[in-house]
Symmetry: C2
Subunit: 154 residues, 2 copies
DNA sequence: TATTGTTATACTCTATAACTATA
DNA sequence: TATAGTTATAGAGTATAACAATA
């Protein structure tokens, strides 16, 4: 096993850490945290969602979603609505304020991305994204079982 | 501003999240958490360090280091030793058990990296690492001030 | 019986502020 | 006066377990 893979992985982790710090700082200006912003993002992308569905999308427990939605609801960024056909379930919905906050944040997100990537030559960036996508495809297919990952069947 | 930068940044975040989850799972098998493992890693790389120095390396508050060292000390993975020339300071030192745990974990880390990167053609990976390093260099020079990043002077 | 979301409880990471011991 | 580390306190994310309401 080439130990340089380890060095490469270290760099990926360093990038992740620095991006997280940068994002957290950006989000603070919008009164958000990383976890809450990600929930908002999902709602913006896929419309009203049940908490059950959110817990799957965010890969956390339903209990955790309760807390995040509590906070976002207290900030009037989301609303809990009754599910039309399943009275057990709750549909978490963006409020107008939530949608506005999400949009402002997303603009900041794209600007941050631009600062990071604009200085890199476009063709390098294409290769970078292709390799990134290659790796992600593996990881998504392996999902929880990274310890046994060895090729995506079919 | 090209909005595809945002898509790219999303992918980087997805990779970071999946790696973090994978690492956390791996670390759990060694009785470690991400934060504690990182502290151990620093000690392995740079020998005994003061808590002050650790707080700088880990980019967290000194108070935070106290808690991490408390936990690692309770697990007998590190030892607090008096600083030879400054009686205010503490040198955090790896125990034999700590060194052994660190090494086992690092082997797992490299194996994990291999599973991720081995399926990617070597030349793609070279470009990937070069671009990654390019981006990291920017970020390191900009450091906390990502909001004002615009080129590294000399 | 299974599922959705909650209350109860707990652990970890992180931070600020006030304090002690030393420089 | 400044620095290293601690105690005290607090907020956020996460998790499990037990429970309510509904399917």
């Amino acid at each position: 096993m080439d130990p340089r893979y380890g060095t490469l992985l270290e760099k990926v982790f360093e990038l992740a850490g620095r991006l997280n710090d940068g994002m957290a700082e950006e989000l603070e200006g919008h009164g958000l945290t990383t976890a809450r912003a990600e929930l908002l993002w999902r709602l913006g992308a896929d419309g009203p969602l049940t908490q059950r569905r959110l817990s799957e999308d965010l890969r956390c427990t339903p209990r955790n979603v309760t807390g995040l939605v509590d906070a976002l609801e207290a900030a009037a960024l989301v609303r809990r609505e009754v599910h039309p056909t399943d009275r057990r379930a709750i549909l978490v919905t963006l409020t107008d304020a939530g949608r506005a906050t999400l949009q402002r944040w997303q603009e900041g997100f794209v600007a941050l991305a631009g600062q990071m990537f604009a200085p890199v030559p476009a063709e390098d960036l294409q290769g970078f994204e292709a390799t990134l996508e290659h790796i992600l495809t593996q990881l998504r297919s392996a999902d929880g079982s990274m310890g046994a990952a060895s090729g995506q069947d079919a």
